[in-house]
Amino acid sequence: MFTLFPVFFPVLAGLAMLDLKISKFKDREKYIMGVLGLNFVLTLVSNFLFADTHLTFAKFAGGIEIAFHIDSVAVFFSTIFAFIWPLVGYFSLEYMKHEGEENRFFAYFIASLGGLTGVAYADNLVTLYLFFEAMSLLSYVLVVHSRTNESLLAGRKYIYYSLFGASLGLIGIFYFYSTGWDTAFTRGGVVPMELGGRMPMLSLMVVLAVIGFGCKGGMFPLHAWLPTAHPQAPAPASSVLSGLITKAGVIAIIRIVYFTVGADVLRGTSAQYILLTLSIVTIFMGSMLAYKEKVVKKRLAYSTVSQVSYVIFGLMLLNTAGVTGALLQVAFHALAKNVLFLTAGAFIYKTGKTLVSDMYAMGKSMPKTLACFTVAGLSLVGVPMTAGFVSKWYLAQGALQQGSGIIGFIGIATIMVSALLTGGYLVTVTAKAFFAKRGDEVQESFEPNNYMIIPLAVLTVLIVLFGIFPTPVIAVASAIAQHII
């Protein structure tokens, strides 16, 4: 039972804040950092001491179980979540000062982490679905935090899309129950190789379920909530929404493709090609629209649409290198996107401006913040010596392997075009911020305080560190990839 602390402890400790109504900043800081820090330790304990434990939490009629299993995928994702969450939490302590109603925000902020960890730990489709929905509902409160008309509408759009997506996933789940195959996650899948006439139906169901769960990951065609919800949510919420909660969709896709259906069954089917095509379309579309976008957070949201589809592309290649690349992209995109949203948050918090063009000429004014922005931007482009390069390299290896065919080549070419556009929408900002015309530079200092700088610095250093010494992460990712294929 101890293993489930990382799931239930944040939910309880978070929602307790609604009742505790902590009014002093220092007390709140102690409480939040205490809870998130303790949760990080608990997650590590669960992940590494109790790894590979199966746990059935409850059984319902009809063989429906709420069950958990801490396998390598769960360990990988939940460690990332539990590590980045406290950093964003620390940042929010300062940021939320100007949004107000901190208790409610932090209550749901911490609780969302529990829901997300639940998604990672789930051992069957029903448990996964349950926590998926729980997490959507908990994070809804974060999106509508400011309770302006716009944010309520954005929240509505978010929740509609999430529910609709999850219900598509649910159709897939029903289908699996109806077939009588085991729905507990099994390495290599449970679907027998000889399917006969059931293959078209299975393909359709897989496509529907992946599209449905892909909604959380901002995959076309259900991506539209991202660019609407992100600018409305407070920056730390956008940051976890974009950097981490989108990965819930990735987990669900891994669970369906690799643990329910099985890579061998899907390889070479129309389902694989449809999903690869959709992810390629998303990669291009997201980057292109980010390039055209003028509002900082919206630009970053479109960027997420594109970047998370790198992951889906890698996963749908159904080979080891592709999955390794996808998992690396999960970790490194989480780092980079959190840095980008937090810098955007720091910028909005200090200056009150929201447009990309407002960031121009700010290099002298917020050098540290924008230096972090630069490194994260270069990582998303995939410049060597940043983490993003490593994941792109493995994705390319996967895409160009024998058997991926022409679509792998198109995919990697699209990723290159997308990287070019990423250069266009992030690196140019850096260039214009630091290399503005002399005399136009903003002289007044808007540098935020340590509450904001420390999390940014930690994440940025990690980006560079993993760019230069990525070997341990690669080892972990490729071990998982070999394990699940």
């Binding site: 009629a61 660019p227 010494f469």
Partner: protein, 651 residues
């Protein structure tokens, strides 16, 4: 020994990029950088002199960047690394006085200056293309900070072009490397030739080769990707221009050499393409250099033109195969000679700029009339680049010319094209003579139009004078004693260039070879008298540039396509995809749920009107609320559950 040495040589300058954070005193910072560069120079020199000991030794840094970077010492690479250190010693010595008048952001400049140095060494010491790529990217991004350093309109525009080329070129190279890796199965430069041989002529290898070529050619400033070059050089500070022109564009050439002689080696079509592009680069650069009225812009176009000469050498080496020693030597030597010459010329231009604060020929005119030392040094470098016998440029140009002549001799038929190319080659040499004469006469012979206040003895520091004097001496020694110096240098690189070393020495100073030089000089004199004096200098306005600067390939084709047409088309289709789901929701609502009006706000995020709010608050609204839909959704779940339970019981 070199196991530690090579990584340290590459990474030390990159790490030294952090030094400006700690060393705040600029004099100390400059001295420490000069010291670092001198140490690197000594190491490169020593390794070059003894490079045959290290053949086949590979130094792998496996933990780096996951895939590991690998270094080795090859003949051409170590020679270029040596040239890099020479440039860096020279320009960092000069930096100290050049930036005396404006110290803004100088720490930042030095930081990126060091990183660029290390990355450039990394390119030349790399064992495989992956390592080349890693350092090529670092170099491209780091040197952006040098180009845009001045942060005025020109340098920002130049920086934008440069950054675009860096990002675009880098990604295209990466794509090419991906493909090459999947075709040939190796990226090791010395193994590429054998690994690619079975695939030469296949479309896939052409595509891979072309992509790798594209990125490097853009960095080398080859036509038609040269647009950034004439903008970046004048805009960058003079020491950075010297580095850019002296060595960074050679990194691009190095890549082109790898593509032509290793990946697509012996491919006739590819070599012809290189030849044509080389001729265009050479000639276009020369013509623009002649017309330009900006000192550094002339030098920049001159660099472009010389790159054309070098690329012709590469193409001829490929065409002649094993017997291409003459053009191969010419290629290598022209790279080295051009580096030395441009170090002197750009530093001199920097001296002119720091005294006059202008690069316009009409303003700097006559600056050097009373400055003998600068005059002599500039003249030596200018004669080097013109190819005057007795200076180093003559030797390498003669070899390049001989390469074309040899091909014509070997193939008696179907060589008309090569005869034309030979003529253009000599003509471009003539242009070189003309534009360098124009610069020399303008700065050092004519009378000043504006008074330059500086004391003629105090226009540059002793340290700079020592650097300029040393390099100028080397230029003439190389030119006067080619057999003892340049021939030996070139022989070191024969293996890398894939040619048999030359067994006889070329008689540089016999009549046949002198004839080529003399033809160029004659053309140059005619051009200077006929074109420059009559058409490019007007009585009332001084030097004029008849060419409309906005009419460049970059402005008229690349920029509109890259920044307007493609984003528009891509954006258009992406936008359609983007709103498709929202529109579908809207249409379904209108068709099937007529009573529920979807406010535009759902689609566009506009605030609700008062009527919307009133409707939202009315009782009817309950059926349209989120909670209500959740309720129905829950009901649906319960029904499903019941169905499942019933199904269960039946079984």
């Amino acid at each position: 020994m070199i196991n530690f040495l090579l990584p340290i040589m590459v990474f030390a300058p990159i790490l030294f990029g952090f030094a400006p954070l700690f060393i705040k005193d600029l004099k100390k910072l400059n001295l420490s950088i000069v010291a670092l560069c001198i140490v690197e120079l000594a190491l490169c020199g020593w390794l070059f002199a003894t490079n045959h000991h290290y053949e086949g030794m590979i130094v792998a840094v496996e933990w780096f960047s996951g895939l590991g970077v690998q270094f080795e010492i090859n003949g051409l690479g170590i020679l270029q690394a040596l040239a890099t250190s020479v440039i860096w010693v020279g320009s960092s010595v000069f930096s100290d006085e050049y930036f005396d008048h404006d110290k803004t952001y100088l720490h930042r400049y030095y930081a990126f200056y060091c990183v660029t140095f290390g990355a450039t060494l990394g390119i030349f010491l790399a064992y495989d293309l992956f390592t080349v790529f890693v350092f090529f990217e670092v170099m491209s991004f780091a040197s952006y900070a040098l180009v845009a350093h001045n942060q005025d309109d020109d340098s920002i525009a130049a920086g934008n072009s440069y950054l675009t080329v860096a990002v675009l070129g880098g990604l295209v190279v990466l794509m090419g490397i991906f493909m090459l890796n999947s075709i040939a199965g190796t990226l090791v430069i010395s193994q590429l030739q054998a690994a690619c041989a079975p695939y030469v002529g296949t479309p896939a290898l052409y595509a891979a080769g072309f992509m790798v070529f594209f990125g490097f050619a853009a960095k080398a400033g080859m036509f038609p990707l040269h647009g950034w070059l004439p903008k970046a050089h004048p805009a960058a500070p003079a020491p950075a221009s010297a580095a850019l022109s002296g060595i960074l564009i050679k990194a691009g050439v190095y890549g082109v050499i790898v593509v032509t002689l290793k990946i697509l080696s012996g491919n006739h079509e590819w070599a012809m393409l290189m030849l044509i592009l080389g001729v265009l680069t050479m000639f276009v650069g020369a013509v623009f250099a002649l017309m330009s009225i900006n000192l550094k812009e002339t030098l920049a176009y001159s660099s472009m033109s010389q790159i054309g000469f070098i690329i012709i050498g590469v193409a001829m080496t490929s065409l002649l195969g094993d017997h291409g020693a003459i053009p191969a030597y010419g290629t290598v030597l022209h790279m080295i000679n051009h580096t030395l010459i441009k170090l002197v010329l750009f530093t001199s231009a920097g001296v002119v700029y720091q005294n006059t604060h202008s690069l316009d020929l009409n303003k700097v005119q006559g600056f050097g009339k009373d400055k003998t030392f600068l005059k002599v040094v500039f003249a030596i470098a200018a004669m080097g680049i013109m190819g005057i016998p007795g200076f180093n440029g003559y030797i390498s140009k003669t070899l390049l010319h001989e390469g074309i002549v040899e091909y014509i001799h070997l193939h008696h038929t179907g060589v008309e094209l090569f005869k034309i190319i030979e003529a253009i080659f000599l003509l471009s040499g003539g242009f070189t003579v003309a534009y360098m004469t124009k610069l020399f006469i303008c700065i050092f012979v004519k009378d000043p139009v504006v008074t330059h206040h500086k004391n003629p003895h105090d226009y540059m520091s002793k340290r700079t004078a020592v650097v300029l004097g040393t390099v100028a001496t080397v230029i003439s020694v190389f030119g006067l004693f080619p057999h003892a110096t340049l021939d030996k240098i070139a022989a070191q690189t024969a293996h890398f260039m894939g040619v048999h070393p030359l067994d006889h020495s070329v008689h540089y100073f016999n009549f046949t070879n002198l004839k080529g030089g003399l033809i160029s000089i004659t053309i140059g004199v005619i051009l200077y008298i006929g074109v420059v004096r009559n058409m490019l200098i007007k009585q009332d306005r001084g030097y004029i540039n008849p060419y409309n600067k906005s009419w460049t390939v970059e402005n008229k084709i690349f920029r509109p396509v890259l920044f307007t047409v493609l984003p528009f088309v891509g954006g258009f289709f992406s936008r359609i995809l983007d709103v498709s789901m929202d529109v579908a929701v809207f249409v379904i609502n209108r068709l099937f749920c007529k009573s529920v009006e979807v406010p535009d706000t759902f689609l566009y995020g506009k605030p609700e009107t008062e009527a919307d709010i009133a409707r939202r608050n009315s009782k009817v609204h309950i059926t349209r609320s989120l909670a209500y839909s959740l309720l129905l959704f829950g009901l649906g779940l319960i029904v499903t559950l019941i169905y499942l339970l019933v199904a269960e019981f039946r079984i």
